[in-house]
Structures are given as C-alpha cells and as structure tokens.
Amino acid sequence: MASTIRSAMTADTLDVRVIRKDFPIYQQPYEDKPFIYLDSAASSQRPEQVMQAMDEYYRRFHSNVHRGVYTLAEEATARYEAARVKVGRFLGAKDPSREVVFTKNATEAFNLVAQGLGRVLLNQDSVIVLTEMEHHANLVPWLILQEQIGFTIRYITFDSDGYLVLDELDSILDGASLLGVTMMSNVLGTVNPIAELAAAAHRHGALFLADAAQFAPHFEVDVSGLDIDLLCLTGHKMLGPTGIGALWARSEILDRMTPFLGGGDMIADVRLDGFVASEIPYKFEAGTPPIAEAVGWASAIDYLESVGMGSLRAHDLKLTEYAIANLTGSLGSAFKLYGPKVAADRGGVVSFDLAGVHPHDVAQVLDQHGVCVRAGHHCAKPLMRQIGTAATARASFYLYNDEADIDALVAALEDAYALFN
C-alpha cells in the first residue's frame, strides 16, 4: 500500500483520487448525495490500513498487556510498546520508549499535565501563562486546578488578524512557571511561532507546553529542535482511531510528575495505607490501556509518513490558498474570514462568517449539498468572545480533499446566502 501512496505524489502534490481509494468512507457514502467532508479538524477519516491493523490485532493477537507471561500477551505488549516508540519517533523524541504516555485523547493528556505537573510545580503564588486562542482542553484543566490549589493565570491575547500579540511577552512571562500554547489554532488556523515562544519561556525559567492536536496531523513536529518540554496530541485527528491520545514530555519532567489516575499497572506496590508508583511512562497509565487503538494509531503514523508530512503541508497550503481566493472572489463582502489573511501563516482550517446567515444555518444548508462543515464555538469560547461572535462556520482540509470540494463549498454557500438574503 505504501507504494501506492508514494506514487500518488508528484512534486509535492498528492493525487487525491489515489489517496481516496484508501478511505472506505469515499467508497460507500452513507447517503445518496455527494460526500464533501470538510471537517477533519474535528475528526479525520481513517484509511483502510488503519482499520486493517486494528482488525488484525483483534483477530490474531489480542490479550491484555504487560501482565502476561504467555506468548500472545507478549505479542500484544510488544505491539503496544512499538506503537509508543512510533509516536515518540514521529514527534522527534529523544527517548521514545519512556517519554510517551498514552491517554484516551488530547484532553486527558492536558488534565494529566495540570494535575500531575501542576500539583508539584504550582502553589497559590505561582503564575502560568496561556493564550486567548487556546482550545478548552488547554484551559479548563487549569481552571479546575486553580479552584483546587489557587494560582494566577495570565493570557496572551491575539490581534484582529489572528496573530498572538507578543510585544509584552517578557513582562507577561515574568515569574511564570509554565507557558502553554496551541501550535495551531483550531478556529483561526494561525500557526504560532513555537520555537520563539519556547525560547522565551525558557529565558524566564518556565516550562513550555504545546498543544499539537491540530498541528501534528498536518506538519512535521520536532520536539527536540523546537525545544518543547511537554506536548499533547490526539489520534483521531490524524487518521488514527478514536479513544487514544498522548502526552509526550521530557523524561526528567515525567519523573517529577505525580501520578494522576490511580489503579492497576501504574504501581510498584500497594498497601492498605499507601502505594508506591511505578516507573515512567507506566506510572501514568492506570488500568487496561487502549491497546488496539495504539496499534491503529501507529498504522496511521505509518500512513502519514509514507505520504510525507512535507507533501501533506504543501497540499494543505494549496487548498487553503484556493479556498480563500475563491470564497472571497465569489461571495465578496458577504464573506468574512477569521484569522491570518496569508495562507502560509495558517493550517488547513478556514473559519468564516456569511453575512446574514448564522453559522448553524450555514452548516444546515451546506449539509443539504453534502458539504460537511462544523458550526459553533469550536470549544474555544474565550477566543470566540475575543473575535466578537458566539459561533463561526469552519471548513477544514486534509489529504483526501481537493479543489472540487472547495468549489462545492463555494456553490453551497452561494445558495445559503440566497436563501437568507
């Protein structure tokens, strides 16, 4: 299959017709209408290869991991641990077998950071810094911990073009213990200057936490090169299954962190009056982990790597440019784009407003045309307040989308505009 994918590329462009052959959802659409999927930022579709990997696991190798002496359990464990190493390598981790903690999604990973690291790092006099464009996943865990132990949260704001305002970064970071920033906004599309932010955090002695939920599916990540300390990501947005995500962190940091979820598999010893936690990464993985999901995610990473993250980015960029040009061209001033005007500064996510039509109604009319877009606050309510609206419509692109999808989007939006105006 890998060879099929490779042959789909010529000079950094993907052949979407070839790619789609790998995605069963394009073979047998659910409804008798076109299937124009523009919601990969919420969750991507899965290639055949990922389903086969999970299926093979269940059909031939399943048993619980870590605790079995028999061959099948060893095999299951080996596959689960190989998936860990695969995720670690994909991120450029130095010690992949010890630095990746599997969680159920990116959100759990953020909660693990807040509770596991926050409780040893912070007290009521501490300061952490987040941005106003964070997803709730990198906000609410901190707000919960704040209620429990108290500390100050400062926020970096962003300007009307969706760029973080970094003029006063040094004063904002003064005295901070941690800076947490999304690598790519799921609403504005903005790709943030991560290396610069990480360096600034370190200058002030703060740890740098990155939200890669949107970034990792679309760009090459290199935690070592970017000098990131902790990073959260999720499987289902990058061709993997639901039910799995991960925290990557430098091993010294994981060592410092207290366990978060308690239970089987994360302990060295348990007595009736206390317990001793196991080693990293196991001390953070309580109970039976998402084994088949880890295997599926590893296969998704294989798929992404065989396509090539560079080609993928080039493809995203091409579609984003095409979309911005055509939406503005066809809808004129009725179309309002959120986030950077320059496609190169953003990922394949386009949030917009259509004059006189509420985003829900936009999505509803688009659905009639088979065009799937998301409408709402995109789990980023503070961001929405900052841009002065309660909801936007959002189209997002991935390797199986092409220009024809965007043409369909434009046509459907023209229809929605006509219906309401």
Partner: protein, 151 residues
C-alpha cells in the same frame, strides 16, 4: 432526507430577521435569565416582568441561529400577557411538538399542534434532531426563569 423547506418556513425566516419583543428591560423590576446551548455557543437572555402571576412583559436578547431566534420571538408573542399557568401549558404543548416529553412513539396530537398557532411553524424542526436544542433553548430558559421567580 428531510427537506430544508420544512425547516426554513417563511414565518421562521420572518421572525429571525424581524424578531419580536427584542431588547432588554431594566432589572429590577425585570427578572433576568440566561440560557446556553453548550454544544454550539448560542446564548439567550430573557427579561421577564411578572405581575399578579402573569407575564406582564418579556424581552429577549442574545445570539443564535434562525431556529433559536425565531423560536424565541414566537415564544415571546405566545406568552406575553398570559397567566403563568397558561404559559406553562404552551410550553408543555411545544415540548410535545418537539418530540420531548411525549409518547415514546412520537407524532404529537394534531389538535395540540394546531392550538399552537404560529408556533406550529417550528414543527419541521423535529426532522432535524440537532436543531431541536436550538428551538427549545428559549423555552428552557423561560421555564428556568419562572421556576426561579416562584421560589
């Protein structure tokens, strides 16, 4: 596949573009209640003046889609000036029309729907399950406000 015309009837688009009883009332005397649709960010803010167990005045502000805004507007017409007991009655019938609280089987009584007058225009929403929450948001907010006013 349900048809968009069922959803976007003319009355609905009219109430969306020209919402009745929109605005605010100073509080006090008004009671203020906010409602959220957690899934989409829609917000409705209700201002109620209750006198002698009647809804003497009602105003609505907030952000929302055509369905939640028109539902709010239609609701304000339906309950303004009415005794609270009667407002509850309309609420109950509306919920039945939306397929909530009704018989398991669904289809609301025809008589029930007729008695709702212009509100019946929202009947098409039932075919779009996700939008039911939009339609019921102002009503749930109203019932929370009344519950609070009663104690």
């Amino acid at each position: 596949m349900a048809d968009l015309d069922d959803l976007y009837r003319e009355i609905i688009l009219d109430h969306y573009k020209n919402p009745r009883n929109s605005g605010s009332i100073e509080s006090p005397p008004a009671l203020v209640e906010e409602g959220f649709n957690p899934l989409c960010g829609d917000e409705v803010k209700l201002y109620l003046v209750i006198e002698d167990d009647r809804i003497a005045d009602i105003r609505i502000s907030g952000q929302g889609c055509s369905i939640s805004r028109s539902s709010a507007s239609l609701m304000s017409q339906a309950v303004k000036g009415k005794p609270i007991s009667e407002a509850f009655d309309v609420l109950a019938r509306f919920r039945r029309m939306m397929g909530i609280d009704g018989e398991e089987s669904g289809e609301p009584e025809v008589a029930d729907v007729r008695s709702l007058g212009e509100l019946a225009a929202l009947q098409g929403v039932v075919k779009f399950p996700v939008r039911i929450k939009c339609a019921t948001l102002p009503w749930n907010t109203l019932s929370a406000a009344i519950a609070r006013s009663l104690g």
